[in-house]
């Protein structure tokens, strides 16, 4: 991230990097960012680290698991499901 006008562009790009990574920007904005990146190795370096962060977060659930399901709770859940299926049948769905 740089000084003067370029620094200003870096800040603008910095604010939009997630939307750029998620392909959620319009084509014009996307082009502007691509052009800036072509000429700004520090922004590319930062973008790569953000991209890596996002990919590390994907599916990064905790490994903890709930205790086994109590059979009584299972029965209650099944009863709730059956009842709601009867409602669905009554509604003719």
């Amino acid at each position: 991230m740089e000084t003067g006008k370029h620094k200003h562009d870096c800040k603008e790009v910095f604010a939009l990097l997630s939307e750029y990574l998620d392909a959620e920007l319009d084509a014009e904005r996307c082009d502007e960012i691509r052009k800036h990146l072509d000429d700004c190795p520090p922004c590319i370096e930062f973008l790569e680290s953000l991209k890596r962060t996002v990919s590390l977060c994907h599916g990064c659930q905790t490994a903890e698991q709930p205790p086994p399901l109590n059979p009584e709770v299972r029965e209650k859940l099944m009863a709730a499901y059956r009842k709601s299926m009867q409602n669905r049948a009554r509604q003719g769905l």
């Binding site: 604010a15 520090p42 996002v54 977060c57 903890e64 099944m78 499901y81």
Partner: protein
């Protein structure tokens, strides 16, 4: 893999809508674990997470007749889970929201006049199991330290891989708000990872 998980969830929901109870146990297993893990990150307490998982499943089955489109099952369940988490609010993890500012995450250039940033060398990350496990711990810790509204955005968008539109529906906010919160959350997690990697890399360099 997440895409396969999603397809499996949709198929289970479709089977249950069509009245095939053999899908019931698998559906419970999949979503109980998923909601428990989400709630643990959101609430921070195992006991609360177990209750959230159970309360969510009750609501899911009580209202199963309202699920019209099996494709929407994941955001639908998470919306119920999100409300169940709110019921478990505890001060420590749902403290008054402190806004994260973009400025705080702007990286600095090294003071030697070069364009080099003061950040870790992300291109040199070895792809080994130990590091991956350590990075997961850093990510979990970083996410848990985020103010609740940012934590919810990154959990739903990046960890659970809902779309922006689905996340907006779950959280009852606009898509623009999701994008803003998500970006700040990612920057905060990136900063923690960077801090960790720099420590690790300087340790390795020192030998």
């Amino acid at each position: 893999m997440v895409a396969t998980d999603k397809r499996q969830e949709i198929q289970l929901a479709r089977d249950l809508i069509e009245g095939k109870p053999e899908a019931f146990d698998r559906f419970v297993e999949v979503f109980r674990s998923k909601v428990f893990q989400y709630a643990l990150m959101m609430c921070g307490h195992r006991e609360d997470a177990e209750e959230v998982a159970q309360d969510t499943l009750f609501k899911v089955f009580e209202n199963f007749d309202q699920l019209r489109d099996p494709e929407r099952v994941r955001p639908w369940v998470f919306r119920i889970a999100r409300n169940a988490c709110y019921m478990k609010r505890r001060k420590s993890v749902f403290a008054p929201t402190q806004e994260l500012s973009l400025e705080d995450f702007l990286p600095h250039s090294e003071g030697d006049g070069s364009r080099k940033l003061e950040i870790a060398d992300w291109s040199a990350l070895p792809d080994d199991q130990v590091l991956r496990a350590e990075l997961r711990d850093v990510i979990h810790q970083a996410i848990q330290e985020l103010p609740e509204m940012y934590r919810a955005a990154i959990m739903l968008r990046d960890v659970e891989e809902l779309t922006t539109e689905e996340t907006a529906q779950v959280l009852d906010v606009s898509q623009e708000v999701v994008k803003t919160r998500l970006h700040r959350a990612r920057l905060a997690v990136r900063a923690k990872l960077d801090e960790y990697l720099r420590r690790r890399q300087s340790g390795v360099a020192k030998g």
